[in-house]
Symmetry: C2
Subunit: 365 residues, 2 copies
DNA sequence: TTGACATCCGAAAGCGCTTTCGGTAGCGTG
DNA sequence: CACGCTACCGAAAGCGCTTTCGGATGTCAA
């Protein structure tokens, strides 16, 4: 529990004051650009600070100001272990954008026997964080419920099923899957299946909705067998796809909730002695780098995780600003991005269909 | 730059003191288990603290104690973007173990135009962190050079080429690849190639060393063409493997620096009309979940990233303790773990070889 | 009963900053 | 020359906690 003593050689504001023959207050105001400091002393102070490598103690500053410039991020509990391939990218984006405003990113894990909300509450009450970023939300998510009443600014990457009164950034998953299905329909497919994810996760739900909407809008029938939910990794995809292929009338195309699932599907197809992109077309979602290296290369929808992280950070900082101003015009930014469809070799017209144009890699919309 | 005001309703130690009719000092000592507090008042204080949800301000505590119970982690710069599939697992392990001792994990990104060392130095000087964890080290790594002179406790996951005087946890990459090659040799392979990684990264170097050692120990020739370095993703693997397959005498087996590379290789083999695990055996490294879902399933070496994160955290806390005690017996823990070889379908005896036993999934050593 | 000791708690001085308030010097104006 | 102003800086009071020091009790033996 005992930490590390601050470095002895680190110069404090008192040292600087002594060195310059000024008072600590003056130093502080000079460095913080108060208007009542003469320009030349301000410069003098700044130069000395640079030269001596003075860096104000963020702890003391926090205490004096009563503010915390730190956003908290609670890692998804290991129990529901759907490894997010983009978690580190999002974190990277978050940290990068926050750093530009002098903010920090605090990462917390959930110890066994506790839940996310307990962890978040402790972080808030101990004053360690002043805002939260949340990702991978469920349709109904206790973290969001907590935050909505906690009085801490927060922004959600993704959104819950009810989502009118808080700030979020999400990708239009429904539209993405409408687009994906329509793309396949445009190629001539009619028998399209879905390898869907855990329906507690809202993104999986939304994608499924998109799938069904596009199918019914096109007047296409979807046998129940064609919709498989709850697939979270390549392994599950392998089995589910094998089942699909064993169906009396097997689908000519399958859209997958993630690239990991799609890659599993591709391997299942090959294992069955068929050819992905020929006998069965495959479309994924994520834009995983590995999707470019599969055989056939994976047609997929992609979202920019790093950029999303940055945007969430910006929204967070704005939310904090709003809160401090206590402005009455409650702005609740909610941003919806669109996923881009990346065409590669894994999706082509069905073999029975004569319109057999080949598709090279290109990015549409 | 302005942060979030601490919650108004959060009770402070002064409030608790008032509530209990005790002095702040007594409260503090009671909560921190000083021996000079009567057991029954200690209990009284504790109960009241729980009831009122008192949580000491970590900022004030830090300032008073002059310590920071926070370890810093600087995300690898986005420029050399070798996405580490295990980064989030390591962070998870770090955060989880640190939390058990009341420590925090601070994540920092490297803004454009700055380097890692600058970021680290600022974190140290501003007193935001009291220790560092570092991963993905290069053979010669400026971060380690900096830390060795900075006086901040740190632990490295991995190690540099010279590594006698600091604390690290690494996997025996060399032995892992010796094992992998020997395994293939045991199957009857003689023409074994290496798809290696960026040699600036020490793990890639070590694995290459292991490959060469095992080959030469077995008296096997390795034509220069058989060793390809600098492959960092599936895409690079795809091309490199294609080149290998086009060789006049193509290898019967290939070991890959990572699973991502191995999966790329599998696809290249299939693309060439050959059968991975039959015409060419493939061995990877990482134990990626997806390796179980490929066709054929990937034989690979695995390491436990989450556990590594926890162990690094433990070492870190121990290093801090050592430093505070100023003990003279300089303990520098250096831990070497072994990777486990997971046998799956992608590695089998060469086709020419009569000893053609099939290999089901199982874990050896 | 008195002194010597523990036992337990309050007082107060910080930790390194910020920020308000007031005071001094310098300036221009009448 | 006195007045009022502005421009600039120092003094000092915190922020919420920790920790040392000493003082007030109570206890026990002599």
């Amino acid at each position: 529990m005992t930490g590390v003593k601050q470095r002895k050689d680190a110069i404090s504001i008192a040292g600087l004051a002594l060195h310059l023959g000024l008072s600590e207050g003056t130093i502080s105001r000079a460095l913080n650009n108060y208007p009542d400091i003469a320009e030349k002393t301000r410069k003098r102070v700044r130069d000395a600070a640079n030269e001596l490598g003075y860096q104000p103690s963020s702890t003391a500053r926090r205490l004096a100001r009563g503010v915390v410039e730190t956003v908290g991020f609670v890692l998804p509990s290991r129990r529901d272990h759907l490894s997010d391939p983009f978690l580190s990218e999002i974190l990277d984006g978050l940290a990068a954008e926050l750093a530009m405003s002098g903010w920090d990113l605090l990462l917390a894990a959930v110890p066994d026997g506790q839940d996310e909300v307990e962890v978040m509450d402790r972080l808030v009450r101990s004053g360690k964080i002043g805002a939260f970023a949340v990702t991978r939300v469920k349709r109904s998510d206790p973290r969001v419920d907590y935050l909505r009443t906690a009085g801490v600014p927060f922004v959600v990457h993704g959104r819950t099923s009810k989502h009118s009164d808080y700030s979020w950034l999400d990708v239009d998953n429904e539209k993405a899957f409408v687009d994906a299905v329509n793309f396949l329909i445009g190629l001539g497919h009619k028998n399209i299946a879905l390898l869907g994810g855990d329906l507690k996760m809202n993104f999986a739900w939304q994608r499924r909705e998109g799938f069904q909407k596009a199918m019914s809008d096109a007047g296409l029938e979807t046998p129940p067998d064609y919709i498989v939910d709850g697939i979270s990794d390549g392994m599950g995809a392998l089995e589910a796809m094998a089942t699909l292929l064993a169906l009396p009338s097997r689908p000519t195309a399958v859209v997958c909730v993630t690239d990991a699932v799609a890659i599993g599907a591709i391997h299942a197809i090959q294992k069955a002695g068929l050819k992905a992109g020929h006998d069965v077309s495959v479309v994924g979602y994520d834009g995983l780098p590995m999707g470019r290296a599969t055989e056939p290369a994976l047609t997929t929808m992609s979202q920019a995780s790093y950029e999303a992280g940055r945007e969430v950070a910006r929204m967070l900082l704005e939310a904090v600003r709003q809160k401090n101003i206590k402005s009455l015009n409650k702005e609740i930014p909610q941003i919806l991005w669109e996923a881009k469809l990346t065409l590669r070799a894994s999706a082509n017209p069905p073999v029975s269909n004569p319109a057999n144009k080949s598709h090279r890699e290109e990015t549409k919309k």
